[in-house]
């Protein structure tokens, strides 16, 4: 089977992982917007959300004797998403309070933030390993996974469809939030110039905290989607984290729509590349993309937009 034959299937797979990267990348890009910092522990927010959502949904699925269907399936997915998002938000909140805020109060050098985020990441990964074993934890799907429809030669199954749909809804919601609401306006104001925003009556501390929480909600929900389809483990966050960061840089750091585009482009590139090269080297592709972007177009596809409308 040649590449042409596989093209549509690879596209679908790429869209699926790409939409997950996009959801995580938003957390990086939003925090980078307001603080000009890479939040290294964001991948752990994703991981904790994944565990939370997985445990909640698994509990519900276990109550059914056979695979749930209809409204029950929808309900379970929604509960998983909600619990995952809440766990992610709680993790992001704690992270901001413990690892970032004390440093911000002291006006610490930026190196200190990066290092304390690494500490938080190390702590969270190993704590999760201690609490929930260091192995892959899986759950049974809350719905029957069948082919829903065909795109040319490619099959689109329920799992893929759920991920792409949920991610799309989240991306649209976030875009609206940043572009149209008062909170979004204050996030953009802080990203543009925190000092001036303070003078204009924006509560910067609150905006920073809320930015972390929004990133956490998205990452947590994304984590549940990931855990539902693949598995959850204490070090699951690392690779999606690096890839999502790549996506954020690819789209232009600080640029909300850029992160979405970057995620999808990265997912597609990786999917095609994984077919052309060996599948085990798939993770290398994202890294090469990152280095190439830095060399060729460091401001990303849509350009860095710290502080402008999405």
């Amino acid at each position: 089977m040649g590449f042409v034959h596989q093209f549509w299937q690879l596209t679908i797979d790429g869209l699926m992982s790409g939409s997950l990267y996009a959801v995580i990348a938003l957390g990086y890009t939003l925090v980078y917007g307001v603080l000009q910092l890479i939040n290294f522990a964001h991948s752990e927010v994703f991981m904790l959300g994944a565990f939370g959502g997985l445990f909640a949904a698994r509990e519900l699925v276990n109550n059914f004797s056979d695979t749930p269907s209809g409204m029950a399936s929808v309900g379970i997915v929604l509960v998983g998403l909600a619990v995952g998002a809440l766990c992610g938000a709680a993790a992001a909140f704690t992270l901001e309070r413990v690892a970032y805020r004390p440093l911000r109060k002291r006006n610490a050098p930026r190196l200190a933030y990066l290092i304390s985020a690494i500490g938080a990441s190390l702590f969270a990964v190993n704590m999760a390993g201690k609490l929930w074993e260091r192995q892959n934890v899986t759950m049974e799907l809350p719905f029957t996974n069948g082919t829903v429809f065909h795109v040319f030669s490619a099959e689109v199954n329920t799992k893929t469809l759920v991920i792409i749909l949920v991610a799309a809804v989240m991306l649209v919601l976030l875009d609206t939030l940043v572009a149209r609401t008062r909170l979004g306006q204050s996030i953009r104001a802080v990203a543009q110039d925190a000092d001036t925003a303070t003078l204009m009556g924006v509560n910067v501390e609150r905006v920073i905290l809320l930015t972390f929480i929004i990133g956490g909600l998205l990452a947590g929900a994304g984590g549940f989607l990931y855990a539902m389809t693949f598995s959850a483990s204490n070090n699951m966050g690392f690779i999606p984290g690096v890839k999502a960061f790549t996506a954020a840089v690819l789209g232009g750091i600080g640029n909300v729509r850029g992160a979405m585009l970057g995620g999808i482009v990265l997912g597609l590139v990786e999917s095609y590349g994984g077919y052309v090269f060996q599948a085990s080297y798939k993770d290398v592709i994202a890294f090469l993309v990152l280095v190439l972007i830095l060399m060729v177009r460091p401001t990303g596809l849509l350009g860095e937009r710290l502080g402008r409308a999405a």
Partner: protein, 467 residues
Amino acid sequence: MSTTSATPATPSVAPTPPPSQPGGAAALGRAAAAALFSLAGLRQLGVCVLIGLTLALMTGPNGKAAEPLGAVRHAILAPRIVTYLIIAAVLWLLIALWPLARPLWSMGQAAARGPVTAVAQQRFAPLGLNLALLIVAIIMPMFFSNAAVTWMVDGVGIYALLALGLNVVIGYAGMLDLGYIAFFAIGAYTTAYFTSKTAISAHFPVSLNPFFVFPIAFVLAAVAGVLLGAPTLRLRGDYLAIVTLGFGEIIQLIANNSHWTNGPRGAFGVPHLSIHLLGINYSWKLDPKPYYYLLLAIIVLVMIAFGRLERSRIGRAWAAIREDEIAAEATGVPTLRLKLLAFAIGASVSGFAGVLFASKQFFNPQIFSLQASFLVVTIVIFGGMGNRLGVVVGSVVLQGLAFYLRDKVPATDRFIYFGAVVIVMMIFRPQGIVPSRRRKREISLAEHGVGHADSLGSAPTSESGAR
């Protein structure tokens, strides 16, 4: 700074009670109650209880994935929680009552220090201190078991050498390298490639003595560092952290998947170090002590070399970059090249350490994990970035504790504590336990809005105008 403020207080002979307590014990009690049960005091209580609960979780039993809340229940809803609540209460009392005790403390300190400071201020000759430490390091292995000496090589020594290298990146240049162990892996695999025909599938036509691989690995790691750093550093310092993070993972991935590196099985039978020179025939075998002394000699040499580097033109240029990159650039310091140089020097030390490690023992890709990179970062931060002695002390203390507690704390749980240590250090003592004076001053200056104390900002030559 602290001594100048303390010296005027020396004449005070009898410690008088703190000025704010005219009524004695009753007033003190009232003040204490006010401090404890104020809004701030109760907030502190909350924080302390949370710290206690976290400690209980950290030290608690391991959980199961099948029962998500099991570990939490066994750790917190169990009699053992009483201990941790007591710890939390004591911590709270200490924190909340500290403002009341501070006047007493500073007075006692002044009285104790006053006459001594004059002598202590004549800066204890660092040479004497270093020599004393060196002698301790030389005689130490004689008092320890073989297992402990093995750990002093694999755990403490190698990591001290790695930390010295990473210190150039973090401490001197003010950047962050999170894939540092990748260069160590490059060194180790280079050794396997050049010294043996059987260690890994790929091999050099001629088997070399591991000593000849030192310069090769040194250069290869530096080249890898430059290739990685050049596209990244041009842009923003903080991108370097994530690029190196990815690189570290890629190297491990390749080592694990390529048939040239023997995949997950790793490399067997890399020859030990040996000298055949001028009639001397000596080889390092299984006994850890000769490795220990070799490593000690290398560490001492590296420390001396880096000390000279720190005080050289290059070292001063690094300091200038950390303190104000734009000003440094404006005065003609080639910032990009110097940052790249720091990164390459750090990488080559790591490659060098890799050769030493590979020639001593069997290794597989597991060893070059992300956590190993983080461990080196932790050691540098804990010890004191920018201070050569500090990072070695950091390695000795952290890895020593890890060895001492090896039966009580499982190896996998160690990193929970390392993570906590890193956060606590960053919050309370970013300069580390043995701070470099200059670095400490820079950090406190940066906190008051002067300079940056790192070189993570966008370089002045980058396209910041394009925004």
